[in-house]
Structures are given as structure tokens and as C-alpha cells.
Amino acid sequence: MYDADKIIPGLIVFLIIVLFPYYYTMGRVVPAPKPIKPIKYKKCVEPLSYMRAAHMDILDAWRDEVVRHEKRVYVSSTGKEWDMSLQNECLRCHDNKAKFCDRCHNYLGVKPYCWDCHFEPNKIKELPHKMMTKETM
């Protein structure tokens, strides 16, 4: 092999860097995430197993139907009607994002950017506000 004295150390350094996440967390036990379900409501839009796997598919479909096709009502597989809105329907029951949505998302390192625009309706006080001064009033 040409340049073996450069390539072999280079490969070793590469492996050290790339395998870092594995050997750094070796032996640590990270418990599975436990999202806290809403207390008052028992049934979600679709059955739990489906929602767990495909809630993003539902949200994508809702998004296109509401914005692009003027639809507002979703009739689920159980026949119940739902208002197609993340902020007004999903968050009506799942009203604490930190205790529900973020639990699994943080565990998996997923950062959905829905929250750049959509917000929790009962957490408005925590959002950045503009202070109106006398001049800008």
C-alpha cells in the first residue's frame, strides 16, 4: 500500500470519530420515553398504534387538505368528525407539548419545525412578545 504510514493512522482516527456515539454511551441505560397522555380524553383521532407510527402522515395530509383544498373536517376510521388543526384540535387534548410531544421527539433527536409557526394556545404567555411603548401605541 502506498502511503501506508498516512492511511492507517488516518483510518484509525476516522473510526474513533465515527464510532464516538457508540462507545461514549456504552453501558448507559436510557429508559424509553414516557409521554404523559391527556387525562380527560381517551380516544385520539385514530387508534394508538397507528397514531404512534403515522401521526406525521396524518398531519401532512391535514395540512394539504386545509390549506390547499379548503377541507376542514376529518372523518376518522371510527366515523367521528375532527377539526383538522394541529393548534386547535390536537393541542386541545395534548395541551402540554413538553410532557407529551417532546418526550419522544427529544429521545429520538427529532426536531419537527412545526413549532416555529404553530404554538400551544395555552402557553401564549411564554412566547416572545413585543412591548408596546407609548410611541408605538
Binding site: 403515522a54 390547499r68 373536517v73 376529518y74 372523518v75 376510521s77 393548534q87 409557526c117 412566547l127 413585543k130
Partner: protein
């Protein structure tokens, strides 16, 4: 080992591309399967073929040139940020003087009723909108009922529509809007930096059976909202009775905002 370095690299590259490419392509292009669910319109949704508005300028001015009730209603309904720096401002509905609103008909001898008076301005929801023609992702599109809609989820922020709009109705989020929002409406999202926004004719209200918030908010009923294709609508009746002008008609955009003078 009869494989040359070049052949090895070609083979490795091809394998990597195929492996990454097919997996990615499958994930991205395969349609998401949603369980048997149906999508319906709301029963109360307003149905029309061509929504439009008429502004009774005399009534509006009679209520006071400083009146901004419709503007503030829109701002509060849609979480529109208020910037101190006018270069970054976002305005879906606003006011400007006659000579700016109708700058192509520059007329130093216009009557005192309208000279130096403010006119309400907003997206004209054109019949043949240049912004829709140029959008590369169809993030702005024309609904069958005439509203020129903005899909904030799909917009890539290229601002081609802003260059194309001959009326200056479009805004871009140059910065994060949230620190500039005075009052949040819990029922409507904000936008994020990097997307274009404009008046969307309160589609979220029309689809649920309500009129646009500016129409409802006006205390003197100076904004008349209706279906241009319905000859019996209040809008068509008032257009038959009163003379109306529109902005920049010679450009062929067929705007749907009528100013009754």
C-alpha cells in the same frame, strides 16, 4: 487484484449512489398511507365562485381618516408582527394616499374629496395573478373560489412572487416575527422567518362560514364582501349602482378589489 484504482472508485461511487438514492427515493416519493379517513368541507363554509370586495371610500373617510379598525382586526387575528423598521414591515391590509394607491393615474387635479386621502390597500386576489404564474413550488396558488392563497408550509422564500406582484401586496419575513408580535390569537399560527405572506382573504374564516375579519370589524360597513359571479349578491348590486375603480387595470391582472368613489 486486477481492478484499477479508477474502476474501484467508480464501482464504489455507483454502489453508494444507488444504495442511498433508492432508499431515499423510496421514502420521499412513496405516498404516505393514511388510514381510510375522509376529508370534508365544513357544512357552514361560504360557497362562492369568485370572492371580491368593494370599499365604499366615502363611508370609510367619513368615519375618520385615522381609523384603523380593520387593519388592527387583521393584525390581531393573524398574529402579524409589528416592526419599528419600515424596511422589514409586514402588512396584509394597510392605508396609503390616493396618489400612491393609484400612482399610474397621477392626477394633480383630482377632486378634494380624494386628494391626499387614505385608501385601504391589500392583496387584490387577481383573476390572473402574476404571482401565481411565477411561484416555482405552487406555494401561492389560486383557489377555485378566486382567493389567491399562500401555503406557508411549502414556500421556499425565493421572493419571486414579491417581484412579480404589481401592487406591492406581498411581505417577506426577513427576521423571526415572534418577538414583534403584540397580541397572539390562540387559534391562528404565526409564521417563521424565510416565508412570504400576504392577505389570504381570511380563508380560515370563509371555510368555516364567516366573513373576513376586516369586513366584520368595520363599524360603518365600508367594506362590502361578496361573490362576483352571483348577480344578486350585495356586492354586484352596489357595483351596478356606484362607479368603481381598480388598481392598474392595464396590466391585465383583473384585480378583485373595487373602490367605490
Amino acid at each position: 487484484m486486477g481492478v484499477s484504482r479508477r474502476e474501484f472508485l467508480k464501482l464504489a461511487g455507483l454502489t453508494a449512489a444507488l444504495g442511498l438514492g433508492t432508499g431515499t427515493a423510496f421514502e420521499l416519493l412513496a405516498p404516505g398511507q393514511v388510514e381510510a379517513g375522509e376529508y370534508l368541507r365544513s357544512e357552514n363554509a361560504l360557497r362562492g365562485k369568485r370572492w371580491a370586495m368593494a370599499f365604499d371610500v366615502k363611508k370609510c373617510l367619513a368615519n375618520g381618516e385615522d381609523c384603523r379598525i380593520c387593519i388592527d382586526a387583521c393584525i390581531n387575528e393573524h398574529n402579524i408582527p409589528q416592526y419599528d423598521n419600515p424596511l422589514h414591515e409586514i402588512k396584509w391590509i394597510w392605508k396609503d394616499l390616493y396618489r400612491y394607491a393609484f400612482e399610474d393615474t397621477e392626477n394633480p387635479y383630482v377632486s378634494d374629496d380624494y386628494k391626499d386621502k387614505p385608501f385601504i390597500l391589500l392583496c387584490n386576489h387577481c383573476d390572473e395573478p402574476p404571482c401565481v404564474r411565477v411561484c416555482p413550488t405552487q406555494a401561492t396558488f389560486r383557489r377555485p373560489d378566486g382567493i389567491v392563497m399562500q401555503d406557508m408550509h411549502r414556500c421556499i422564500g425565493c421572493r419571486f412572487c414579491m417581484a412579480a406582484c404589481p401592487y406591492g401586496s406581498r411581505n417577506f419575513n426577513w427576521l423571526d416575527p415572534r418577538p414583534h408580535i403584540v397580541h397572539y390569537n390562540p387559534k391562528y399560527p404565526t409564521r417563521r422567518r424565510g416565508v412570504v405572506e400576504k392577505c389570504i382573504f381570511c380563508n380560515e374564516r370563509i371555510d368555516l362560514g364567516k366573513k373576513p375579519v376586516c369586513v366584520d370589524a368595520c363599524p360603518v360597513g365600508a367594506i362590502i364582501f361578496g361573490d362576483l359571479h352571483d348577480p344578486n349578491s350585495e356586492l354586484r348590486q352596489v357595483l351596478r349602482k356606484r362607479f368603481s375603480i381598480r388598481r392598474k387595470l392595464e396590466l391585465g391582472t383583473k384585480p378583485s378589489m373595487f373602490y367605490l368613489i
